[in-house]
Symmetry: C2
Subunit: 115 residues, 2 copies
DNA sequence: GTAACTACTTCACTTAGTGAAGTAAATTTC
DNA sequence: GAAATTTACTTCACTAAGTGAAGTAGTTAC
């Protein structure tokens, strides 16, 4: 039985895996999705959770994801103003990727433990 | 019903998603897996398929994946010698990630078409 | 008036990736 | 027998991406 989606090299030039890779480019994007999958988060919460991320990169990634319609940004007019980020309906469709990555990552951790 | 694998921010410090991200780091790694998922490939075949990859990066990634036990490297003692790369049993377990990425990528392409 | 708070931006620096060129060794071509 | 070919890389100079410390803006608490 062939796979449900084309995984072979012939999926170019409009390869969906490459398209996903463009959205998930950079070290931090999947981890931002992971955190937002847990619910709405503020900028400072994301920065604390993503230990080591540069504020510039966090702002860049959030802006990119918002432009693509995967993340919603909401400014709360308090003092000082706060910003909330959450996944859109489109963004929530990253879930199967995160689940698959978590499964693969657990396997990789298992290899590392025995190596 | 909670997700089968921990997707929330509390999955640190040994977050399996972050572990997967380390293996799949860089622009090209998932595309190398995609190509090798289609079967054994030679270095020159991968270089042709991954249009634009630098030979240094291709060699680096293949070496990293071999060291992690996800890719098998076989030198054929012909003249000039050829090198074949294939997925190991561990490496083949990337399949669910590729399938999920392909599904997400198709959705992203769909968004792009209407934006 | 000084400090604190939040969400950033700016800037100098390091790391990752690019792409053209070079290497090695045998083998076919002239 | 000298030159060109083939494959899998390596080297090197350059550009892009990411880091991390510091700064900014506007308001309120002291």
């Amino acid at each position: 039985m062939p796979p449900a989606l084309p995984l072979d090299a012939d999926c170019r030039p409009d390869c969906p895996i490459a398209a996903a890779g463009e959205v998930l480019s950079g070290k931090w994007t999947t981890l931002i999705f992971r955190d937002l999958f847990g619910g709405t988060r503020r900028y400072s919460q994301l920065q604390a959770s993503l230990a080591g991320i540069s504020p510039r990169i966090l702002a860049d990634r959030l802006r990119m994801l918002e432009e693509r319609g995967l993340v919603h940004r909401r400014v709360i007019p308090s003092v000082p103003p706060k910003t909330e980020y959450s996944l859109t309906d489109w963004g929530r469709r990253i879930e199967p990727v995160l689940v698959a990555l978590a499964g693969f990552g657990q396997m990789v951790q298992g290899i590392g433990a025995r190596a």
